[in-house]
Symmetry: C2
């Protein structure tokens, strides 16, 4: 009786959308980035800066996994990358202290967790109060935790998305800066849905950094 006309898979709702911002010649925000894996969010931040869309500079990338592709991306951009292998630290606190020390050495203002797969401690949070942002692949508060995309599929939601928020000790909580919503299509797998969400992550992460830079 009816036919479905699914909207384009990349249709989305982003709020707030500050992409029309005017960049003023101000002192650029000094970023420290943390990544464990592919580093695609690190890449989009680096590219947004290079394209003059983000008044910031990446001081250093910290990665915890020797094979993280993020490190290679840093090299390609001529950016500093420091390996802090979590296997070298007996306690989470010790790793976080090393992270804080590194960020201080590199004079970092704002910390970006761009796919950091380790649980962080109060050591890190206290060192950068309200200056650590995280990106999570769901419309928080729905679907916290590492299986966010799978959980959204299992729950049968028709709309999910991603959230950039300030980090708090409780996982995937903290004040929300920007969210983006995308549809869950009938044939989605975790992979196709995650890919659609990541397109939006790559849009809202630079916007969130810009909104903090504007404060």
């Amino acid at each position: 009786m009816s036919q479905y006309y699914p909207i384009d898979g990349t249709s989305s709702l982003i709020y707030p959308d500050i992409s029309a911002q005017n960049l003023q010649p101000m002192k650029p925000l000094k970023l420290g980035v943390m990544a464990s894996g592919n580093g695609s969010n690190f890449e989009v931040v680096a590219q947004a800066i290079q394209a003059g869309k983000l008044n910031a500079q990446i001081q250093v990338l910290i990665y915890n996994n020797p094979s993280a592709k993020a490190a290679e991306r840093a090299k390609n951009h001529g950016l500093e990358a420091v390996l802090l292998n979590h296997r070298d630290y007996k306690k989470r606190e010790n790793l976080d202290r090393a992270i804080v020390k590194t960020f201080r050495q590199y004079d970092v203002d704002l910390v970006i967790m761009a796919g950091w797969m380790r649980i962080v401690t109060q050591e890190l949070i206290d060192a950068f109060p309200d200056r650590i942002i995280n990106i999570h692949p769901s419309l928080l508060p729905s679907f916290k935790g590492v299986r966010a995309v799978e959980q959204a599929l299992e729950a049968g939601v028709k709309i999910t998305g991603c959230t950039v928020h300030l980090l708090r000790l409780e996982m995937d909580s903290g004040p929300i800066l920007i969210q983006a919503a995308v549809p869950v299509l009938p044939d989605d797998t975790a992979e196709t849905l995650h890919a659609r969400i990541q397109i939006q992550e790559h849009r809202i992460l630079p916007l969130a950094i810009a909104s903090l830079a504007a404060r």
Copy 2:
């Protein structure tokens, strides 16, 4: 450093959007509607039918509150309205049995809870398996319960919305049919946010009914 250009307050993402459906000349779906208050969702369903956008007919409205504006709306449309005052029933089950009896008398196929403010029981759910739909003012599974809009504001989310789902005994759960996402604007109160969500409720409720009519 940057300026916000908030998107239009009524911008939204709806999925699935079957508004481009082709209505075929089939037997119309016979609806029973339950409402406790204003009945604006009842109104949009009645109007969608009148406008030929929905191949259905409203057999009867049940309302539980003698002063419900929904009853007046039914009268204006020349539709049957039956008052089943919850104060006349000692147990929830007894009220639900009266509801089921009424819907059977009026030969109802599909039950629409359009702002029904009473907790329902298994009596009602078992009588119309997978044939009762509810509309809730949040992107479920976030913000279940009667304070959904206030909770979204308190949580500081930037995107919320509404959900049409099949009714299950556990409140605000059950298979999701359609969702719509809207932004939460900086100056929103519960009233302004609820009004923005209701605009989307009025869009997705007829779509959800159409999608079931098409099965």
